[in-house]
């Protein structure tokens, strides 16, 4: 399997960077949640890559748990977005500054 490990890590880093860029630059709460999912995928790639390298299934089991947590997180996050839209009529996080003081 001649995929150099650094290449998988670089792929993971780039995917994570795209996610960070999305969180920092987009103001739409739904897009921000999607970017968080991208970052979780990057973390999963790292788990699997290092687990494969150390000949251990723990990395893959951890990736499965990460996916489960991501599913719960996105369900609650989208419910928050729905409640936000019902109460404030917006999903743009710039327009939600009620706690800004």
């Amino acid at each position: 399997m001649p995929v150099p490990p650094v290449h998988a890590l670089v792929f993971s880093l780039l995917l994570f960077a795209v996610g960070v860029l999305g969180v920092l630059t987009r103001r739409n709460a739904i897009i921000i949640l999607m970017s968080i999912e991208l970052m979780m995928n990057a973390a999963n790639i790292n788990f699997i890559a290092f687990g494969l390298r150390s000949h251990d299934l723990t990395g893959q089991v951890f990736a499965v748990f990460t996916i489960a947590v991501a599913a719960g997180e996105v369900a609650v996050g989208l419910a928050v977005v729905l409640a936000l839209f019902r109460n404030r009529d917006t999903v743009y996080v710039d327009e939600v500054h009620i706690m800004k003081g």
Binding site: V3, A68, A71
Partner: protein
């Protein structure tokens, strides 16, 4: 390069391209579609990295469940064609995060801990992949975390229902 490596590079670049399109496209529905493409490509990368079980879970949960949830919420909030601002670069934060990540990667690769090939010692002889092995691990060594994860999902489900209710 072996076929597996070629597949890895193709899938990785496709995943990165569609990930960029997720945050670049101004239509939220297009973002969701590109998100499906990203998840499927990452699932292919998992298969190349000998993680068939995680690839199957990725397709089922991410591409099948989470994206459908995203699409439902996009339809419910109905932004009515309001295209938000495309990007707004926070230059300082971006520079700090980017430099930190690149420095970390350079440090790890320069310290020589990553110079072996993937799969050099992994058992590739299993016919059906490692589905059975991961299943055994989940139900023996990781039984308690597995049950706690199901509890977490239950809590998340109740929380989502309470948060998204019409009347409080």
């Amino acid at each position: 390069m072996t076929p597996a490596a070629v597949v890895f590079y193709i899938l990785a670049s496709l995943a990165l391209l569609s990930a960029v399109m997720v945050i670049w496209s101004r239509n939220v529905v297009h973002s969701a579609i590109y998100l499906v493409l990203t998840f499927l490509c990452v699932a292919g990368v998992y298969i190349v990295l000998r993680a068939e079980f995680v690839a199957a879970v990725q397709v089922l949960v991410y591409a099948g469940g989470i994206v459908v949830l995203f699409l439902f919420v996009i339809m419910l909030v109905n932004l009515a064609g309001t295209l938000g601002p495309r990007v707004r670069v926070h230059a300082t934060v971006s520079a700090i995060v980017g430099c930190a990540a690149v420095a970390l990667l350079l440090y790890v690769s320069a310290s020589g801990g990553l110079d072996t090939d993937f799969g050099a010692r992994i058992d590739l002889s299993a016919q059906g992949g490692n589905l059975q092995a991961v299943g055994w691990a989940l139900y023996s060594d990781y039984l308690l975390p597995f049950e706690i994860a199901s509890l977490l999902l239950l809590v998340a489900m109740i929380g989502a229902i309470v948060l998204a209710r019409q009347k409080y």
